[in-house]
């Protein structure tokens, strides 16, 4: 049965490659629509034969697992060796979460070509947040395939994070990696660094680093993001850097933490001469000073300037790269602050103040905060439009760290999810949105793209990436872990694409407000496998009016014990994996599907869904999964009405 399915897919793929009439690509004009929003779906068809040909085009809106609605059915005729794009109007409707538009070409009632694209329909855009850096990469195996198969043009990944430079001309916008959130990740936007300054002209360079140049650039990015339904959050961090930050410290030294002598606490060495240079701003980056959040003047200043920036730069939210919080240090009189103030109490009050000020300014702002899943920062998470980031990088990916084990990464992810989902501050914390981000790669490697000159400066060549297939194996395992904890990926790399695509299409199963963790899942389900498959911590449930779903995430354990950038070989497949259960009384009211992301060698670059019929063995229902290399989502649906 399964082999037949694979053969069918492969046959479809061959049809696509060699059929005279082909679907080049399907492209919604946004990656995220609001409910009942008017939209346009572009379907590009090609006739690869020398003579005119025709077919019938069916365009479907698909959602959930087997739900679909025909958008349009029309005859199409193309001259020989031509391509033509049909712009088809559509209304997004009222079905929330993941959708798929599927274009099917039929001839004489027989399907000759098909292709899909994936997006979300939701007003609360933050629930389908993905922050993978936009990239379609030439020179890597995946990038080349995407370009060749989907008619994409490669574009540069953001050496410049000003997106209008990097993906502004791309015909596929955010669909390269399915990102829905762009946050200019830049110290320059720190409240205490370069905040909005009305004296700076629209096109005046106010910051030297490539990531940020003018307010005009900033606005172009915002406009480009909005055009594609991508939202933007404003980066902020509790530090003062660059010339404005150090000037702020000069004017108000009492705003900043002191060391044991009374000097400012410097995060990193700073170049004083560079800071004083006029006309050519110096980006001090992570060389910064730390504000003293026991000082109430600092609270007010930070929110005044942040709101001013939001007003003028038009953002949809704020990303706190670390919650504003009290830190160890002294005031200018030499008082040790931790002794003088109760940090937990002060931080709790501070996060309430931040929430109150920002929500008063704009109630629908989305906040997300690095490492803020509870504790004294819980007030920031007191609104459903908020989330927390777990920083995956650091020791987990450090090749020298004794704890950079795959199992350690998995356990840490589970802990991060539980810290948010099962917080002891449930009365305050109203969010379960867990961003997982900052996955790290060796210097320069995440900045893949056809910028050979930049690579050459770093001593890297295209060939450096080929052996690792852009870390396909390790990224797939990382992405599988992110998916299994219902995380929202925030990182870099094309290799996440199969997962972000699948999470977009089936976002309802990952990020619906009603998805709940099944504790002690081993009491309800059993797993039988010859390989080590991780699943017990990754079972969820969701009840709908007419059915109850179980979502069982199965992760094939990596072949290597440690996370290593030198891993090239793909993990061996898990075959014949079975999930069994005795909790279902009536097999007749049961449906099950296995959903898998596409793989490196997949013929079709779309999620694969297979219906599974359970077998009854000794009173147990047994679900046999198709082979998988990294990850499978098993959906078991019990019809309740």
């Amino acid at each position: 049965m399964m082999k037949t399915g694979i053969l069918a897919l492969f046959f479809l793929f061959l049809l696509n490659l060699h059929a005279e009439m082909a679907v080049v690509r399907v492209l919604p004009d946004k990656i995220n629509y609001r409910l009942k929003e008017n939209a346009v779906i572009s379907v590009t068809l090609a006739n690869r034969s020398p003579s005119e040909d025709g077919a019938e085009l069916f365009l479907f809106d698909k959602w959930d697992l087997e739900q679909e609605k025909l958008i349009v059915r029309q005859s199409v005729h193309l001259a020989g060796k031509t391509e033509r794009t049909f712009r088809i109007p559509w209304n997004s409707g009222e079905v929330r979460y993941g959708h798929e538009v599927r274009a099917v070409l039929k001839k004489d009632g027989r399907e000759i070509a098909a292709k899909s694209e994936f997006f979300n329909v939701i007003n609360e855009w933050w629930r389908v947040n993905i922050g993978i850096t936009p990239s379609v990469v030439a020179g890597t195996e995946q990038g080349d395939r995407l370009c060749a198969w989907y008619g994409f043009r490669p574009y540069h990944t953001p050496f410049s994070r000003f997106y209008h430079n990097s993906w502004g001309d791309s015909p596929i916008g955010p669909f390269a990696t399915y990102f829905t959130n762009t946050t200019p990740w830049n110290m320059a936007f720190s409240t205490f660094g370069v905040y909005y300054d009305p004296s700076i002209k629209e096109n005046e360079t106010w910051y030297a680093e490539s990531e940020a140049r003018t307010y005009g650039d900033f606005r172009k990015d915002t406009a480009l993001s909005r055009k594609w339904g991508v939202h933007r959050t404003m980066f902020t961090i509790s530090c003062a850097t660059n010339e404005p930050g150090f000037e702020l410290a000069r004017k108000h030294p009492q705003f900043f933490l002191k060391d044991a002598k009374g000097d400012f606490q410097y995060h990193d060495p700073v170049d004083p001469l560079g800071l004083s240079r006029k006309g050519k701003p110096y980006g001090a980056g992570w060389s910064y000073l730390k504000p003293d959040f026991t000082n109430r003047e600092v609270w007010k200043f930070s929110m005044d300037t942040l709101i001013e920036g939001l007003k003028h730069l038009g953002q949809d939210g704020v990303y706190f790269d670390g919650a504003y919080r009290c830190e160890d240090g002294y005031d200018f009189e030499g008082n040790l602050l931790r002794g003088k103030y109760d940090f937990d109490e002060t931080n709790h009050a501070l996060s309430a103040y931040i929430n109150q000020r920002l929500r008063s300014f704009r109630p629908d702002l989305y906040f997300w905060v690095n490492n803020g899943a509870g504790g004294s920062y819980r007030n920031i998470l007191s609104n459903p439009a908020s989330g927390a980031l777990w920083e995956l990088g650091n020791f987990h990916q450090d090749p020298h760290h004794p704890l950079n084990l795959w199992s350690s990464i998995k356990e840490s992810a589970v802990n991060a999810r539980n810290q948010l989902w099962e917080t002891k501050y449930r009365e305050d914390v109203k969010s379960n949105i867990l961003h997982i981000g900052y996955s790290n790669y060796p210097t320069g490697v995440w900045y893949v793209g056809p910028s050979a000159a930049k690579w050459a400066q770093k001593g890297l060549k295209f060939t450096n990436f080929k052996p690792s297939r852009q870390f396909w194996c390790i990224n797939s395992h990382l992405a599988a872990i992110m998916a299994a904890v219902c995380g929202h990926p925030y990182g870099e790399g094309m290799a996440y694409r199969p997962f972000t695509q699948m999470m977009t299409r089936y976002s309802d199963f990952y990020w619906n407000e009603d998805v709940r963790l099944v504790r002690k899942a081993f009491r309800k389900f059993n797993l039988d496998s010859l390989r080590d498959v991780w699943w017990e911590d990754f079972v969820y449930t969701r009840s709908a009016p007419d059915h109850k779903d179980y979502y069982i995430h199965l992760l094939n354990a990596p072949d290597t014990l440690r996370h290593s950038f030198s891993t090239i070989r793909e993990t061996k497949e898990a075959k014949g994996v079975e999930i069994s259960s005795r909790i279902f009384k009536d097999a007749g009211r049961l449906r099950a599907w296995a959903i898998q992301p596409y793989g490196l060698d997949s013929a079709v670059l779309e999620p694969a869904v297979r219906s599974i019929t359970p077998k009854k063995v000794d009173g147990e229902l047994v679900f046999t999964l198709p082979p998988f290399r990294y990850y499978t989502l098993l959906v078991i649906r019990e019809i309740t009405k």
């Binding site: 000069r250 002191k258 009374g262 410097y266 992570w286 060389s287 160890d328 020791f395 450090d398 090749p399």
Partner: protein, 596 residues
């Protein structure tokens, strides 16, 4: 006669060097170490059981910070002597390699392999044959790689404890390139592959000024400041290299042992000791919390055998905050003490990104005072030019307007190591040196030169700011203590009008400032204690603001004001005041006349 002998030796060395490029220092089952000529570095294929995949290189010379940064040409060494576990090399340093400060200075380098310890002993000896005043600043760097392609960890003994600078990716991600030079708190530096538990430790004589290491953890070494070298004068120092085998980290190293203190299994701390000699160790391990309150302690008594790792586990409930582990005692009658900062074991690798814990700052011990040899030959005539060591906000002090007809050479005072300082040999051409709110850690690299500059008749102007005087820790530096006409204390930078009037200033009065035209200061170093010889030239609110002192033939001007504050009282802050500029110019001109 001596010089002739030296030349003959060099010539002989030259012939020998042309015959071969590698000279065996040690060759047996455990050790395969050669000296490379003309690079003068060591090629280590095996060292006491440490077997790299590919031979690594140790002891490349460093003579200037610029050379270190930019890969300027290396010295070319010639062989003088080889055999019996000893290789002697010689060179005459040239300006293009070592800068003007060591130009024409003869140098010998002696490698010895002492199997019984085991260690490689390296002695560097300088003799000033240039006939001119010279300055010794030199060092060695090493590129240790046991497994090519992987960064090896560098363990600099830094102020918040010892931690590996191993994660190139992390440091690149989060921070500016790490400093090349930092002040060590203990006299060693190590490079180690924690996974293989193999590496080497360098133990220089405590003349060492600084440790140097790169962010990526693949280059480490140390620098030595030998001070001025009069014509004909000599200077030498020695360091040893010992193997580290069996340790997965390092917290301290000394002549007796190397040790690692690490969090272990979540609720305990493990001490691992690698002895370099047999003997009895008696000491205590103490764990303190963020307020240095004792959490637990345990006595340690060990009979150690050379080369055999001993471990001690100390149970400790996981503390809620940061902790430090203190380990002190004696071994074979010699004392030792060290400490290790711990951050719950969470981000031990990534201290630059974590909350800083100033309570764990350890000061570097006062180093053995170098004998200052102030050469007198060919001292240059002073010109109307100034050198400015530019710290944060120094531009507000307006020296470019005060010294408007002067040539001012400005060097950014980066923390903690200045990369481009004027060569010591040319410093006496300057009349004025401005130390503008400079980090003490940066000044240390040139402190001997500053002292000599003033002693020889230069004018030193030290200006206030967050990194200066008491808030800069100047009182801790013995040379500044000697030079400055005042003593400062920590947290001395305060609002001039008091903490309740932070936006109001205080008028500056004194020499050269006209009544009714007074500039205002808003933050200043207060609580200073004047030395008897100090002369107060300006005051603010009755407290000294500009203080003059003398040292040797020179003068020292301490301006205790700082350009901090957001004036809201309608007064003219001194940094916007022509009166301040004119008065300061007058003070400098008078000092100039005094030193002539």
């Amino acid at each position: 006669m001596k010089r002739t002998m030296w030349s003959i030796l060099l010539l002989a060395g030259g012939f020998a060097a042309s015959a071969a490029s590698e000279y065996r220092l040690a060759g047996d089952a455990e050790n395969d170490i050669s000296v490379l000529v003309p690079s003068g570095s060591l090629k280590v294929a095996r060292f006491q059981g440490i077997r790299p995949q590919k031979a690594f290189s140790l002891c490349q010379d460093v003579f200037t910070p610029r050379q270190m940064e930019n890969g300027a040409p290396a010295a070319e060494w010639k062989l003088l002597e080889s055999g019996n576990g000893k290789v002697v090399l010689a060179t005459t340093l040239q300006e293009r390699i070592s800068g003007v400060d060591l130009n024409g200075v003869s140098c010998t380098k002696t490698y010895e392999f002492l199997r019984e310890i085991p260690e490689i002993r390296v002695t560097l000896h300088f003799r000033n044959d240039s006939g001119k005043r010279r300055y010794v600043f030199c060092g060695v760097r090493n590129e240790l790689s046991l497994r090519p392609g992987a960064h090896e960890a560098v363990y600099p003994p830094a102020a918040i404890g010892t931690y590996p600078v191993s994660s190139g990716m992390f440091l690149d991600y989060y921070s500016q390139p790490a400093p090349w030079v930092s002040t060590p708190v203990e006299g060693w530096i190590a490079q180690l592959n924690p996974g293989l538990r193999q590496g080497v430790v360098f133990l220089p004589e405590w003349d060492s000024l600084g440790m140097l290491y790169s962010a990526k953890g693949n280059t480490a070494g140390f620098t030595v400041d030998g001070g001025y070298l009069a014509p004909g004068a000599e200077f030498s120092f020695r360091y040893v290299i010992r193997p580290l085998k069996g340790l997965d980290g390092i917290t301290t190293a000394n002549g007796m042992f190397a040790a690692s203190i690490r969090p272990h299994a979540g609720n305990s701390v493990r001490l691992a000791l690698l002895p370099y000699e047999d003997g009895e160790l008696s000491g205590t391990i103490r764990i303190v919390d963020g307020d240095r309150k004792l959490l637990t302690q345990t006595p340690v008594k060990l009979s150690l055998r050379k080369g055999k790792i001993e471990t001690v586990n100390l149970k400790q409930r996981a503390p809620s905050g940061h902790t430090a582990v203190l380990f002190s005692g004696t071994m074979n009658g010699r004392a030792f003490a060290t400490e290790q900062y711990c951050e719950n074991g969470f981000r031990m690798q990534s201290l630059p990104a974590c909350g800083f814990a100033p309570r764990f700052l350890r000061a570097a011990p006062e180093k053995r005072r170098l004998k200052i040899i102030s050469g007198t030959a060919e001292r240059a005539a002073r010109k109307r030019q100034a050198v400015c060591l530019f710290g944060l906000y120094t531009n507000f002090n307006r020296f470019e307007r005060i010294l408007k007809d002067w040539k001012i050479d400005t060097y950014s005072v980066t923390s903690p190591g200045m990369k481009e300082i004027p060569p010591a040999s040319t410093l006496d051409e300057y009349s004025v040196m401005i130390v503008g709110n400079a980090f003490l850690s940066s000044l240390e690299v040139c402190m001997q030169r500053i002292r000599s500059f003033v002693e020889n008749g230069g004018i030193l102007i030290v200006t206030g700011g967050p990194s200066a005087f008491g808030t800069g820790g100047y009182e801790k530096n013995p040379i500044l203590k000697e030079l400055l006409p005042l003593e400062s204390v920590p947290f001395d930078l305060r609002p001039a009008a008091g903490k309740d009037r932070i936006d109001s200033g205080v008028a500056i009065t004194g020499t050269g400032i006209r009544s009714g035209k007074e500039p205002y200061v808003y933050w200043m170093h207060r609580l200073v204690k004047l030395r008897p010889s100090a002369e107060v030239l300006w005051k603010a609110g009755g407290e000294p603001l500009l203080v003059k002192g003398s040292f040797g033939k020179g003068r020292v001007l301490c301006f205790l004001g700082s350009p901090l504050g957001d004036p809201k009282d309608g007064k003219t802050p001194y940094w916007d005041s022509a009166e301040y500029e004119n008065a300061m110019r007058g003070v400098i001109e008078r000092a100039e006349k005094e030193v002539k």
